[in-house]
Point group: C2
Chain length 323, copies 2
């Protein structure tokens, strides 16, 4: 027997005569209708994306404001979630800013490259990023089975010549690939390839992973791009008849992302922190001229989406309570 009793409570007497009393709001939140479930899931995970091409005006915020003001921090994280990239301006031009920004959220993710990492021209570089060469479009760290979800990069000093940044919306590229070259799309979503990384930094390491270049969920929605040619293993674990289709598919995907109409190009200014979705965006940089008297120096850090979404939900609760 079900009846509404006082205070908008719902009383249920079960066949074994046990009685339960539920708050009606609590019950409503557990409604099994498709519409109710969809709106709750959207509120929890905010999976809507705004796909971009070269015409994107990168959303911009103020570094100090984001640290101090909850509304500014919420706007920052909402744009990061939806657009995939936000520039924060006005940070001090010294190390430690990406760590402060990570603490604003919760904590950063330690990796073999350290708590934070310095992108600059290094002797005996253990990573292509630590040279002045061009970096073609990639996602960071596919050699980890769970690559970092979010990346913060702070420009402490910029090269006098070169070093421009390039980004592409990988989720948008997947959509285009599926339309223009369904065979390549099928190959890259179904073929696992190996990534590898070894060296010594925070400590010594020898990583090996297997990844789909494009991760899609069981409903076919793209979840993550795993692509970094510098750490893709030269061992290809495929039957020989899949080798050429794989390279053809990979070329179709990289050709697509290198089209000028898909790529956003910008120059990081000293004191600027670029924050972006490393599961979604591919990023690169043009080569630059390294001079003894003017060195390029970026500091970076990783976070994961679980921690970012946790902070986003908490900020939303606080800001909505006050508005």
């Amino acid at each position: 027997m079900v009846e509404v009793i006082n205070d908008n409570k719902v009383s249920v007497v079960w066949p074994d005569h046990h009685t339960s009393v539920f708050d009606s709001e609590w019950l409503r939140r557990r409604c099994f209708s498709t519409a109710a479930r969809q709106s709750l899931q959207e509120e929890l995970f905010l999976n809507d994306r705004y796909y971009f091409d070269s015409k994107l005006n990168i959303p911009t915020g103020d570094y100090e404001e984001v640290l101090q003001d909850d509304q500014a921090a919420l706007a920052w994280l909402l744009a990061l979630r939806r657009d995939g990239i936000v520039r924060l301006k006005g940070a001090p031009r010294e190390r430690g800013q990406v760590a402060r920004l990570a603490e604003r959220i919760g904590y950063l993710r330690l990796t073999f490259y350290g708590h934070t990492w310095q992108v600059q021209d290094k002797n005996m570089a253990n990573n292509l990023a630590y040279t002045s060469n061009r970096l073609s479009l990639h996602t960071d760290y596919p050699a980890l089975h769970f690559s970092p979800g979010v990346q913060f990069v702070h420009c402490i000093s910029q090269a006098v010549e070169g070093g421009e940044s390039e980004v592409v919306d990988g989720f948008h590229m997947v959509e285009l690939l599926q339309r223009e070259d369904p065979e390549a799309y099928r190959t890259l979503t179904s073929t696992q390839v190996d990534f590898t990384d070894m060296g010594r930094d925070y400590c010594d390491f020898l990583l090996q992973s297997k990844k789909h270049i494009i991760d899609v969920d069981r409903k076919g929605r793209v979840e993550r791009i795993n692509f970094n040619n510098a750490t893709r293993d030269s061992v290809l674990d495929l039957p020989v008849h899949q080798v050429q289709p794989f390279y053809r598919g990979l070329k179709a995907f990289t050709d697509l992302m290198n089209r000028p109409e898909n790529m956003v190009c910008y120059t990081m200014e000293p004191g600027e922190v670029v924050t972006f979705d490393n599961w979604r965006l591919l990023h690169g940089r043009r080569s630059y001229v390294s001079r003894p008297d003017s060195s390029r120096h970026l500091e970076g850090a990783y976070l994961d989406w679980d921690e970012v979404m946790s902070r986003l939900r908490l900020l939303r609760n606080i800001v909505h309570k006050h508005t």
Copy 2:
């Protein structure tokens, strides 16, 4: 044109007249045959498992030996990979030992419960683990989309009464479930449910995740168990006709793991560190009696499989070089 030249090198002249010279060993390692690929992948990932039931004699190592001796450390990690659980005895009975053990590998994984966490009876507990109640079999932290791969728990002091540990081989349970109740197996591998966790510890948090209770890869091999009834959301994001099959499947799975013939029961001794695969094993503990003069205290830490496998590969290289 392909020919073997001096020093066992292979020279290839391509149709465009470019010449490449390969080391024959390098080429052999890239052989596309099924057998060659299988053996290389096994060497890289060591995916063979030894499934256990209640008769398991938990592999045991010496804590100080593992810290100091590479061969002992390698044996520890190989057993952890293959059997899923290893006990290390002889650790000092004070905090800091799980962190030392994690540094032996690389680094530990920080979570909202801190770098390490103290399992003891706490006032205003933010987690059921921090009470003296029974903990039914579970994996840790399914509320994170990438739950920690490995768990270290150090017993600093044990309860005078109760507090026995229980573990079950989740991969073995999946095998049994698939055989005994294929419908339940299909439900738990195809239905995503929500996990949630909120509170304040290392900092404030509000986590929400969607997971399959049993994660299988595209070839149907089990990869990970995600199950913790204490953090399973009371909101169930399913069409109403899937609700009862889901609960029925979940009950079949938990009934299976609670059968005495499947469960290993043991008592942690002070100075012992249990290290286990959190993707594979479900663990629990019986309730205990908390007395003001004799408190139970465990310290725990998380790591991920990428870092553990990295250390395992490096140790194997060192040990094999010297034998």
